[in-house]
Symmetry: C2
Subunit: 606 residues, 2 copies
C-alpha cells in the first residue's frame, strides 16, 4: 500500500525532513502546519521540493476547533478555513484534516456539527479540496471514531469523510470492529501510531509517548486489517509525536519508520515478506581492540583457548565448547579500548535471512572479502553492531570457520598455566547484552524482532546508583539466541555504553574458582548482599559461603535457579558466567542494582 | 522539627550520600536497603559513619510482603524479619518500615493481617525494634492510610504503629483530615514527597516523578499540618524517587531537599522564617564577555547609551529609561562568548532579602569590594546566575549605582549614528529568560519562589525543531519581576543554554525600525507565519505587512495583545523587544515554535 508519514514525526527543519522521508522510500507526506510556518520555504517551494523528491502531499494538518459553534464564531472559522484552502492550493494538497473541537465555545449538538461541517466541505469542494474529520481522544464533545463517523454520515457531503487514527482509537480502548460499518470510500485517511501501555492522561500520553507501530503495546495491526476490510484504499500514514524522535536524526528515524510500516503490513496480512530465519544460537561474538592483551588474559582465565587465526585478517579465534570469541585488531584508532562490534548467529538459511533483512530495510554491511573467503553476509543493527548470518557446521554458504587456519597449541602466545587441564566448563554463549544509544532503544527492539524473528520480553527498570537502566530482552523461542538491550535513562549518564558477553556453564563454582586461580579478578560483591540472600532464601550455609567467597549472585523464579558472576570491565566490555537450572528464564534482574553498584565502586577503585 | 531524608532520594554510593546529607544539615536518614546491599560498608561501619557525621538512623526500609499470608509463608517471613532485625541491631536502627503487601499469596483479611503484624511487633520488641506499617497506594488489599491504621489499631501492640507517606495518601486523593483520628503516638513516622499532577498509573508516577515538597502539585503542607495536629512528634522525612535526582549530584540535591523541607515547615505554619522581600523590578542585568564589542553594537541599536563605568572594575553601565545593562569584561577565559551572569532586583529591604535567602540555604556569593563600594549582597541561583538585592534610588544600603562614575557623552567609544535622536522607546526590562541545566528545573523554580517570593505560572511545553522545551515563568504579583525558566527535554539537545533579556517598549514598530536602521539585524520570521496570523486574527492588512516586514510576532489573550521581536544571538545571549497592551499576561508561547525554528535556521546561516 501507499506509505506516508507526518512531518511532525521527525526532527529538524522541513526541507531536511522531506529529504529524509524520500530517501527512506516513503511515497507521501502529511504536512504538519507548524513545519510550514516555521520555515523559509513558501508553499510553492515546498510543492516543488516534494515533486522533485517524488513525494505526494497526502494531507495538510491540523485544522482545529471548527465545528458546532455560534454563528459569529462560524463566520470567523470559515474565513480561517478559506485562508488555509489558499495555502493548500499553493501547496498542491487536496485533503485537510479537521480535528474534533476542544474549544470552550463549541456545543454538544451533532446536528449543528454536521451542518457546519457540510458547509465547510462545500467551501472546500470549490477549491477541489476534501475534508477528513477526526475524533481527538480528548475532543470536547466528539472523542470516539464512531461518533465522528455518525456526524460525517449525517452531513452527507461527497467532500467530507472521516480520518481514523490508531492512537486516538486504541488509547481509549475503543473496539476497531466498528470500522467495518463505515463505507471504505468515506474513510479518507488512516493515521498510525503505537504507544506503550501506560495508565497516563491521554493527552500527555499522546504528546510524549507515541511510537511507531510494533514499538508499543497497541494492536495497530488489527485496526489496519479492520480498516482495509472496510474498503479503505488510501495510504497508511504514520503520525508519531515522541520526545525521543523529536531529537533523533531525521534520516535514521525515517528508515525506522518505514521499517515499522513494512512489518505492520506483514502483521496485518497485507503483504508477504520473506519469513525470518530464526537463529538457533550464537556462532561467535567479535571483540575489536587495538591491544587485545587484556582480553587474551581474561579469555585464558575463563578457559578459552586460541585455536585459529583468520587467513588474511588480524583476527584470532578463541574457543571453548560452542562458545567462540573473535579478537580483531584490524581497526585502528579505537581509543576507548575493547568493544563488542559484531555477533554471528547460526541460521539454517543465511540467504533467506539476508533477503528478510533487506526487505525490512536493514542496512547490509559491505564486506571486504579475500578471493577464497566464504560468502558471509551481515547487517548493521541500529547501535552499529554487525550481525552475521552463519552456518558454522556447513562448508557451503556461511562456512566462515573455513576462513580460519588452526593454530598449533604449542604456538599459543602467552599460554595460560595448565590451560587444558580443567574440563571445558563454558559450553556456549548464553546471551549478549548491548547498551543502546539514547535514541535507539525502541528501534533496536523492533529491529531484532523484525530482522531476526526474535520475541521481546517485557521492559524492566533496573536501579543503577546514577539512574534507572531500562532493559528489554529479545530472544528466540528456544532461548538459543538471547540479546539484552539496555539503555540508561538519559544521555548524560556516566560512563561508556557497556556491553557484555554471558557465558553458559554447568559448574559456575568451578569456573569462578578457575578464573580466580588464574589471577584474574572477579567483581567483588558486598557481604551485605549475602546477608540479604540468607534472609530471602534458605540456602545451605556452606553453599552461601561459597557464593560469597567467589562473588556469585543468586536468583530464583518459578521454574529454576540462576547463578552468575562477573569479570572486571575492559574498555566497554565485561564477561559474565551464568548457570541456569531447571528452565530459569530471566537474567537475574533482581541482582542488577547490586551488580551495577559494585561495578561503579570497582571502576572507582574502591 | 527534626529533618530526615531517605538515602534513595540521592544518587551515588551510600557513603557519598551520607556525607551530602550531613553537609546539607539534615538530622537523620532513612537507610534504604538497596543502598546498604550494594555497598562495601558493613552495617557497623555505616553506624559509625553516621555517628561521625552526626546523623541519626531514623528508619530502615522497606520490608515488603509480610502480612495476611498462609502459615508456611508466615514462618518464612518471620525468619526473613529476624535476619533484618539482626542487620538493624548492627546498624543501630530501631524503626522498620513495613509496606502493605503486594504479594499474590496475601489474602484480604484484616484480622489475619493484624494478628500477624502483632506477632511481628512482638518479635521486633525483643530486639528493641518498632514496626511502622504503611499502606502502599498500590497495595494488594491495603492501599489507604485509614485502612492501614485500622489494622494497626486492631493489632494493638506498643511496638506497632503506622507510617504516613504524603505521596501514597495524596496521589490517591485521600483526604488527610482523617489523620486527626489517629493518636499522635501511634504515628511512628512521616515520609514526605510531592509530585506534579499527572493522570498516570500511580506506581509509575511514584517511581519516576516524585519530587520534593513545593516542586509538585500535591498539598503536602496540609498533610503535615494534619499530622502534627494529631500529635505526631517524629521527624519530617523526605522520600523521593525521581529519574532526574537519581542522576544529579548528591551534594546539591541534598541542599535542595533541605530547602524544600524548610519552606514546607513555613507553609505548614510550623516555623517562622524571615518573610521574603518581594522585588519590585529589575535593577540591572549583567552580561559578561571577553569581547563586548558585538554587545555594544546591539545595545546602541536598541537605543541604550553608555552612561557610566564602575569605579574600579571593568564594568560599563548602559541605560535607557529604567532598563540598565552592565557589560563586564572582568572574567577572562570565557570561550563561549557573552553570557548573562547576574541580575539585580529592586527590593525595599535588602537586609531582609539576604536574611531570607540565608534562612532557605541560598548560597551567598562572596564579594570583592573596594573600600568605598556600596554593600551589595548577592546569592547564587541553582544555574549559577547571581541575584543581587538592590535599592537603586536610595543612597544607603545597596546604592550600587554610586559605585559608577558618569561617562561624558562625547567620550562614548563608538558612538552610534544619531544616537540620541529618537525618543528612548525602551523603558524597562520586561523579563529575563534563563535556560536551566537539565537537572535543575524544579530546583530553580522552588529557589525563585522560596528566596524571592515570586509566584510560578503553569509549566508549558514549547515545540523546538529538535525537541520540546519545558518552560515555566516565575513572577512577582504586579509583574515587576518576571523570570522565564526554560529547559530542553534532554541534555543532548543541540546548542548552548540560551539566555535572553526582554525589553519593554510602548512602540515596538519604532524600536524595531531603529534597530534595523542601525544596521543590526532582527531575526527574520517566515512569510508563512504571517499567512497563518492572517487566518487566525483579522488584523489590518497594513499593520500585518508592517509586522511581517520587521519580523514582529503577535499574540493575544483574553486581556490584551503582545507584540515581540528578536535580535540575533551573540554567544548565549539575545534580546527581545516586547510591547504589552491592556494587561496581556503571557510571553508569546503560541509563537515559540516559529521563533525557535527561525533561530535554528538563522544560526545555520539559512
Amino acid at each position: 500500500m501507499r506509505k506516508s508519514i507526518a512531518t511532525v514525526s521527525l526532527s529538524g527543519p522541513l526541507s531536511e525532513k522531506l529529504t529524509a522521508i524520500a530517501t527512506a522510500g516513503f511515497d507521501g507526506v502529511e504536512i504538519f502546519e507548524n513545519d510550514l510556518l516555521g520555515g523559509p520555504l513558501s508553499p510553492e517551494e515546498v510543492r516543488l521540493r516534494c515533486a522533485d523528491l517524488g513525494l505526494g502531499i497526502d494531507l495538510y494538518q491540523p485544522f482545529r476547533d471548527f465545528e458546532a459553534v455560534p454563528a459569529d464564531v462560524l463566520a470567523r472559522n470559515l474565513r480561517r478555513a478559506e485562508r488555509k484552502f489558499a495555502v493548500m492550493e499553493r501547496l498542491g494538497a487536496d485533503l485537510l484534516l479537521v480535528c474534533s473541537s476542544v474549544a470552550p465555545e463549541s456545543v454538544d449538538d451533532d446536528a449543528l456539527a454536521a451542518e457546519q461541517l457540510r458547509l465547510l466541505a462545500d467551501r472546500a469542494a470549490e477549491h477541489g479540496i476534501r475534508i477528513a474529520y477526526e475524533a481527538l481522544a480528548w475532543g470536547k464533545h466528539v472523542s470516539t471514531y464512531d461518533h465522528a463517523w455518525k456526524i460525517v454520515e449525517q452531513a452527507d457531503h461527497p467532500a467530507l469523510g472521516t480520518c481514523l487514527d490508531s492512537f486516538h482509537i486504541l488509547s481509549r480502548g475503543s473496539d476497531p470492529k466498528g470500522i467495518a460499518d463505515i463505507p471504505g470510500e468515506k474513510i479518507f485517511f488512516l493515521q498510525l501510531a503505537d504507544a506503550p501501555l501506560m495508565a497516563l492522561d491521554v493527552l500527555q500520553w499522546s504528546r510524549h509517548y507515541r511510537c511507531f507501530p510494533g514499538q508499543g503495546g497497541l494492536d495497530v495491526a488489527a485496526l489496519v486489517a479492520a480498516t482495509i476490510g472496510a474498503g479503505y484504499e488510501g495510504p497508511l500514514s504514520l503520525e508519531v509525536f515522541n520526545d525521543v524522535f523529536r531529537q533523533a536524526g531525521a534520516a535514521s528515524t525515517a528508515v525506522d519508520a518505514l521499517r515499522s510500516l513494512l512489518l505492520l503490513e506483514e502483521s496485518a496480512g497485507l503483504s508477504a515478506l520473506p519469513a525470518p530465519a530464526v537463529p538457533s544460537g550464537f556462532a561467535f561474538a567479535e571483540l575489536t581492540a587495538a591491544d587485545t592483551e587484556p582480553l587474551r588474559g581474561v579469555l585464558g582465565a575463563l578457559g578459552f583457548a586460541h585455536t585459529a587465526r583468520h587467513n588474511w585478517k588480524p583476527v584470532e579465534l578463541w574457543e571453548q565448547g560452542e562458545a567462540r570469541i573473535l579478537l580483531n585488531t584490524g581497526v585502528s584508532g579505537r581509543r576507548q579500548g575493547p568493544a563488542l562490534t559484531a555477533i554471528g548467529v547460526e541460521t539454517s538459511d543465511p540467504g533467506r535471512a539476508v533477503r528478510r533483512a533487506e526487505a525490512v530495510l536493514a542496512p547490509v554491511v559491505p564486506r571486504r572479502r579475500g578471493p577464497r573467503d566464504a560468502q558471509l553476509d551481515a547487517v548493521a543493527a541500529p547501535d552499529g553492531t554487525e550481525v552475521f548470518f552463519c552456518r558454522t557446521e556447513r562448508p557451503d554458504h556461511g562456512g566462515w570457520i573455513g576462513d580460519f587456519t588452526e593454530v598449533p597449541s604449542h604456538a599459543l602466545p602467552r599460554e595460560p598455566q595448565e590451560p587444558r587441564e580443567p574440563a571445558a566448563t563454558v559450553h556456549r554463549i548464553d546471551h549478549i547484552a548491548l547498551t543502546q544509544p539514547w535514541h535507539q532503544f525502541d528501534e533496536a527492539s523492533l529491529f531484532h524482532r523484525g530482522v531476526l524473528g526474535l520475541k521481546a520480553d517485557d521492559s524492566l527498570d533496573l536501579a543503577d546508583p546514577y539512574g534507572l537502566v531500562r532493559s528489554r530482552a529479545v530472544a528466540s523461542p528456544d532461548g538459543g539466541v538471547r540479546i539484552v538491550l539496555n539503555i540508561a535513562p538519559s544521555p548524560d549518564a556516566e560512563g561508556p555504553r557497556l556491553q557484555h558477553i554471558a557465558l553458559a556453564t554447568d559448574d559456575i563454582v568451578g569456573a569462578a574458582r578457575r578464573v580466580r586461580e588464574q589471577g584474574t579478578g572477579l567483581l567483588p560483591i558486598p557481604a551485605n548482599y549475602y546477608d540479604d540472600l540468607d534472609a530471602r532464601y534458605e540456602l545451605d550455609p556452606r553453599h552461601l559461603a561459597t557464593l560469597a567467597d567467589l562473588g556469585i549472585l543468586y536468583d530464583r523464579d518459578e521454574n529454576g535457579e540462576f547463578l552468575h558472576c562477573y569479570t572486571a570491565t575492559i574498555g566497554r566490555v565485561f564477561f559474565e558466567l551464568v548457570q541456569r537450572t531447571d528452565g530459569y528464564r530471566g537474567y537475574g534482574a533482581q541482582n542488577a542494582a547490586v551488580r551495577l553498584a559494585a561495578q561503579h565502586l570497582h571502576q572507582q577503585g574502591v
